[in-house]
């Protein structure tokens, strides 16, 4: 068969290519550039090969931050996903309660990250904060600036407060789309509350849960502002997550080479994990049907 090849259409793609180049590829390439070079100042760079990558991959500091990051994201998913499902299942399905619930649930989502951080920073303070004062009043020794466990609890609870609504709202949308006939059929079949959840609600929520898990994982894995405002990564390095560590390295110490290598490794980890999540969950989906 004789095909006429006409490549003029590629010109149409050019605006997008330019846009993506300026917004993503070129900034990323400068990072790649830094990650393989070294400088002693005066804007004079020389080739450093993969030595920064070697240094990062072997650095205890990076390992610790990565471990803390996994622990944090794991906790966030383990708390927010079940809690979100639970809240969604107990939200009213009709009447005036729906609007009230939706508005109340959306409020935390509308607050900027640094404001959330500030709210909790003050809320938890032992001298003037409501939470800190209250804890002292009931005799609990709570101080997020000194105690590692307290700092972790504060940061995790803050994130749960900020983002569980998102999971709940997504699940609520999924639940609302289940036709009434399913519940009626389940009643006729004598299904228990648990069986209804396991065989009707959960399968019907799978699509939105996939989105919820992905969003919450990526967001919590990249978290910076809130813990930075509340604990500043402390006490010690106890709440220094990857992005906080990265900023310390790049802006605080001005170690551009290692920081660039750090960024790239960080980026690849997120990319890899998101891909794994997506593949596993879509595979489960296919298996399910």
């Amino acid at each position: 068969m004789n095909r006429t090849w006409n490549n003029k259409a590629w010109w149409m793609v050019l605006p997008v290519v330019l846009l993506v180049a300026f917004s993503a590829v070129i900034p990323l390439m400068t990072v790649v550039n830094y990650s393989v070079q070294d400088t002693f100042g005066n804007n004079q760079f020389f080739w450093a090969g993969l030595s920064w990558f070697e240094e990062i991959m072997n650095s205890q500091r990076f390992h610790d931050a990565l471990l803390r990051q996994f622990l944090f994201s794991g906790l966030i998913l383990a708390i927010e996903i079940p809690l979100g499902i639970f809240i969604a299942m107990n939200m009213p399905k009709k009447g005036w309660g729906v609007a009230v619930c939706l508005v109340l649930m959306s409020l935390p989502l509308l607050i900027p990250w640094n404001v959330v951080g500030t709210i909790w920073q003050i809320f938890g303070r032992v001298d003037i904060g409501l939470l800190g004062k209250f804890m002292a009043l009931i005799g609990v020794d709570y101080n997020y600036t000194q105690n590692v466990i307290d700092a972790w609890i504060t940061v995790v609870v803050m994130d749960v407060w900020h983002w569980t609504s998102l999971v709940a709202l997504l699940c609520y949308a999924g639940l609302q789309s289940i036709p009434e006939a399913y519940y009626q059929a389940a009643r006729i079949d004598g299904a228990s509350r648990w069986a209804i959840f396991r065989f009707i609600q959960l399968p019907k929520m799978r699509g939105v849960l996939l989105i919820a898990v992905l969003l919450r994982f990526m967001d919590s894995f990249m978290i910076y502002t809130e813990p930075f405002v509340v604990t500043g990564g402390g006490p010690g390095n106890a709440t220094t997550f990857l992005s906080i560590d990265l900023v310390k390295m790049a802006v605080g110490q001005f170690d551009l080479g290692p920081a660039a290598a750090f960024s790239l490794v960080y980026f690849l980890i997120i990319l890899l994990l998101s891909w794994v999540f997506y593949t596993v969950m879509t595979h489960l989906d296919k298996q399910g049907g």
């Binding site: 009626q184 009643r187 006729i188 079949d189 004598g190 228990s192 069986a195 065989f199 009707i200 399910g288």
Partner: protein, 361 residues
């Protein structure tokens, strides 16, 4: 298996119904005999689904009682009533195989696996699903899914009645009649009480021993398909059943004659209608014949339009200013110059305020 008695039953979706207009289901007192197949026929929104959901227990009636074999089940929850119900849109449990779907109601009731295997095997065979048992229910076509919904009801041995809520709505037309035949032969085999809700008269008439016609929350007639056709007890039944429906002409009754404008129509008997009631003459298009010549008592008519629909022709005519349909069988000639019309006198029904009147002979 059970006889279902609806005792002075009515339902309103309003918490405090103020009058009869608030009731989606007006008061009904009716016995559904054990082992019979009923069709519940009516236009959308006439209260048929409400009635069905009251029987299955998904709705609690505002007044009255539901009795199964004389036992009051009004306050029993759905799962205790041993009812099977098939819904308009197929309900299957997506993540389960066909086998697990069918086994689900038994597992919920704690039966042992050997019994379950036996029952599911039997039901699958009855519904011709044996080959699909291992497949995921989600991937199947709509008709197979409806069979699964039905199977989940049948798999319980002590089913009191099987309720169908417009089960063929989403089925392809060429599979509809097949599934309907299977349902009918199923009914002959298991002789369960079946109630089949539909707005499709063909479905109702082919499926059921008895057809219950509902209109605006009222049960307007209960009878065999033949009775509905020949002696509709309400004008709604007259024009809802039949294609086209019954012709209704506003008339005045004078003894054994009806007067339609200037025309006089001979009636099968003598009627006495109190003054001030809306009086109509009903005649099915099948029982009207056209001719070129006056045959004695023929009425003058003008033909507007002849529609050939294959087996027969539908003639749209005008009689004394009123539209009238006539069905002409395929083997009878008809043309525009037919200017006379006769009614089959014995097939004439007289209605006062929409209800059928009896003639005195």
């Amino acid at each position: 298996m059970a006889e279902i008695h609806l005792k002075q039953l009515a339902h309103s979706y309003h918490p405090h119904p103020s009058g009869v207009q608030d009731y989606a289901l007006k008061e009904i007192d009716h016995v559904w005999e054990d082992g019979k197949a009923y069709a519940l026929l009516g236009a959308s929104g006439c209260g048929k689904s409400t009635l069905l959901n009251v029987i299955s227990g998904l709705l609690h009636p505002s007044q009255g009682q539901v009795l199964f074999n004389g036992e009051d089940v009004t306050n029993l929850p759905t799962e205790k009533r041993h009812i099977a119900q098939v819904f308009q849109f197929p309900v299957v449990y997506d993540t389960m195989s066909v086998y697990d779907n069918l086994a689900f109601p038994l597992r919920n009731r704690g039966r042992d696996e050997a019994t379950i295997r036996q029952r599911v095997g039997d039901i699958a065979e009855m519904l011709e699903l044996t080959g699909e048992l291992k497949k995921k229910a989600r991937g199947l076509a709509a008709d197979a899914k409806q069979k699964i919904s039905l199977g989940r009801g049948l798999v319980r041995q002590n089913v009191a009645a099987i309720l169908f809520d417009e089960p063929l709505t989403v089925i392809d037309p060429h599979l509809k009649w097949l599934l309907r035949m299977q349902l009918k032969s199923l009914h002959q085999r298991i002789s369960n009480t079946m109630i089949y809700v539909t707005h499709d008269q063909t479905e109702a008439l082919t499926f059921a021993d008895q057809v219950v016609v509902m209109h605006d929350g009222y049960v307007v007639q209960i009878g065999t398909p033949q009775a509905l056709f020949e002696r509709p007890s309400h004008t709604f039944v007259g024009y809802f059943i039949g294609s086209p429906g019954m012709n209704l002409l506003p008339v005045q009754i004078e003894g054994t004659q009806a007067r339609l404008g200037e025309l006089k129509i001979e009636l099968p008997g003598r009627y006495t209608i109190p003054a001030g009631r809306k009086t109509e003459l009903g005649i099915r298009p099948e029982f009207v014949s056209l001719s070129r010549e006056n045959r004695g008592h023929s009425l003058p008519v003008s033909i507007q339009h002849i529609e050939d629909i294959g087996r027969h022709r539908i003639v749209r005519a005008e009689l004394a200013g009123h539209a009238l349909n006539v069905i002409v069988p395929g083997d009878v000639a008809v043309s525009d110059d037919c200017r006379y019309l006769d009614f089959d006198r014995s097939r004439i029904n007289i209605y006062a305020d929409d209800w059928l009147q009896e003639a005195r002979t």
